[in-house]
């Protein structure tokens, strides 16, 4: 790895570390990152006849989905509103490093919360995790991709609600289309085609395979590749949008 790349990655980690200290306990983050997935868990689990092998991996994916996406919505918009984004832009840091740092902060939050949920609900429901290593990798990759998802939406926002509203408009339909409530296979073909264009589908599929241990290599590779492609595309779009915002 060349020196410039190492420098950029180190700076991205510094930005992520700073974001963790500043934004992890902001009110919208607690709302969408902690409270919402908790209530979702109870809605799923109490008085319903859904197999834990179906809903638990999906619930972890949704936790990661909401928690990861909440950080950069709050951090980017608050940084723009408070003028601290200017401080980052005037530092010797590329715009892609700023975006990556923010995504890492979101990923960290989503990953930690998802792992806490996993640690609590899996033993409670008596559901054993069959491929724990793959599951952890899946949660990390999903969290990074979901963190990047909110980035293009948050680049121009000056307050968290400005970004939260459009992001939720995107997130809530995704929950119905991506195999969280309804198994993917049960969806009509046309909706399955739409679902294939959404990253949550691949995350749910990946975590389900890891949780149940019924891994199909081809599907697994497709899920990982799709999440990586979504991640790179979203980071690229967010960087371009940030560049455009300072034109």
């Amino acid at each position: 790895m060349n020196r410039k790349l190492i420098e950029s990655l180190t700076q991205a980690v510094y930005i992520a570390k700073k974001d963790a200290r500043v934004y992890y306990f902001k009110q919208p983050v607690i709302m969408f990152g902690i409270i919402f997935p908790t209530f979702l868990y109870f809605s799923f689990s109490i008085g319903r006849e859904i197999s834990p092998s179906v809903f638990l991996p999906a619930l972890v994916a949704v936790t990661s989905f909401f928690a990861s996406g909440s950080i950069e919505v709050v951090s980017l918009s608050m940084e723009r509103g408070a003028g601290t984004l200017d401080r980052l832009i005037t530092a010797p840091v590329s715009l892609s490093t700023i975006i990556l740092g923010k995504a890492l902060a979101g990923c960290g939050f989503g990953f930690i919360l998802s792992m806490i949920f996993t640690g609590i609900i899996m033993p409670l429901s008596g559901f054993p995790l069959k491929e724990p290593f793959l599951f952890v990798i899946g949660v990390a990759l999903s969290s990074l991709t979901f963190a990047a998802l909110g980035m293009p939406i948050s680049v121009y926002a000056k307050t968290p609600p400005e970004a939260m509203m459009p992001l939720n408009l995107l997130r809530f339909p995704m929950m119905f289309l991506c195999g969280v409530f309804i198994p993917f296979e049960a969806l009509p073909i046309s909706l399955q085609a739409i679902a294939r264009l959404l990253p949550l589908t691949y995350s749910v599929e990946l975590l389900r395979q890891a949780a149940t241990g019924s891994v199909i290599l081809q599907t697994l590779l497709l899920d990982i590749a799709a999440l990586i492609l979504f991640l790179l595309a979203l980071l690229l779009i967010a960087t371009k949008m940030l560049r455009k915002s300072i034109q």
């Binding site: 420098e7 700076q11 510094y14 930005i15 700073k18 200290r21 500043v22 408070a82 003028g83 601290t84 200017d86 401080r87 980052l88 832009i89 005037t90 530092a91 010797p92 840091v93 590329s94 300072i246 034109q247």
Partner: protein
């Protein structure tokens, strides 16, 4: 490299609005340079273009020899930026903010603690290092913003209205600190709409109005450009109104106006005029209560060059009391 900053035909449009209109100037290495202009004249836009916060619509500029569009990362390693509004993280402590800046600006890890400690002591903030920035006063935040912007020891420092909205004491302290940094050989690029502040601090000033540079030079050169002679304000133990006519007849006086209990005399040669006024008082048995010779003021040059009225300049606020040379 003699010039720290070179600006050539720099222009910025925001949609229909022409914020900066083909400006040209250069700032020498180690110079204290001021960009003076009323609110909305284009000062902040200029500084934002030079520091990479916005791209120019046309024209070019170099900072430390690097092009502002293509080499912005190299420029950012060499400059410090103090924005108009303190932009630190209120949720982090004073020390935490400084540490984050040190990390971001590649200050070697072995030097970070010492560098931060030295700067906080220099800026009188070491005792507050554990406090969250959110609880600091505006003046302290300003000091910390400047300290954070020089964590990497930049050779060029951009300050956008650094004393705006501060009380007199904080403002004076900030000016002292900036003067000290200038004394260390740093190039200072300073924007302000405080005329007296620019006069007091800057070696050269560019006056900007409606996005255009209307004059550039040292404060004294700018004052001399307006060529309006000198002014003497004098008051006697007799009504100024009753003396107005007598002074109008004196050959060394160009014009006379009454200013409260004072007479304001426009003269060509202030030293001769002072002697003649003393003679005038002796001959009439008058007592001189006060006599002040006013140097040509930067404010006069500013008013003339920007086309603003004195009332509008007053509204621009905080014009300090007139500087007087007591005789």
């Amino acid at each position: 490299m003699e010039n720290a900053i070179e600006v050539l035909d720099l222009t910025k449009h925001y949609g229909e609005l022409l914020a900066v209109d083909h400006i040209n100037f250069e700032v020498k290495r180690g110079e204290f340079f001021g960009l003076l202009g009323p609110n909305g004249a284009g000062k902040t836009t200029t500084i934002r273009m030079l520091t990479g916060l916005t791209k120019p619509s046309s024209g070019t500029a170099t900072v430390a020899g690097y092009d502002i569009v293509h080499d912005d990362i190299n420029i950012k390693r060499l400059i410090g930026v103090v924005p108009e509004t303190s932009n630190l993280y209120g949720e982090l402590s004073v020390w935490g903010n400084m540490m984050f800046m040190a990390e971001l600006y590649h200050v070697p890890s072995r030097d970070r603690v010492k560098r931060i400690k030295d700067l906080l002591e220099l800026f009188g903030l070491y005792g507050r290092r554990r406090d969250h920035v959110a609880v600091l006063s505006k003046g302290l935040k300003r000091r910390l913003t400047i300290a954070a912007s020089i964590i990497h020891d930049p050779s060029i420092l951009f300050l956008d209205e650094p004393t705006a909205g501060l009380d007199v004491q904080s403002s004076r302290l900030i000016k002292e600190l900036v003067r000290k940094l200038s004394g260390e050989g740093k190039t200072i690029f300073f924007t302000t709409h405080h005329i007296e502040e620019a006069d007091e601090l800057c070696q050269r000033i560019a006056i900007i109005s409606h996005g255009k540079i209307v004059a550039i030079g040292s404060p004294e050169v700018l004052k001399a450009q307006i060529g309006e002679g000198h002014v003497i304000e004098v008051s006697f133990d007799k009504s100024s109104k009753s003396l107005e006519k007598s002074f109008k007849g004196e050959d060394y006086v160009i014009s006379v106006t009454i200013l409260g209990d004072k007479l304001r005399l426009h003269v060509d040669d202030p030293s001769e005029a002072v002697l003649r006024i003393v003679d005038f008082a002796k001959n009439r048995g008058l007592r001189v209560i006060s006599i002040d010779t006013l140097r040509p003021r930067l404010e006069d040059a500013f008013v003339k060059l920007t086309g603003l009225t004195p009332v509008e300049v007053e509204r621009l606020e905080q014009i300090r009391p007139k500087k007087r040379v007591h005789t």
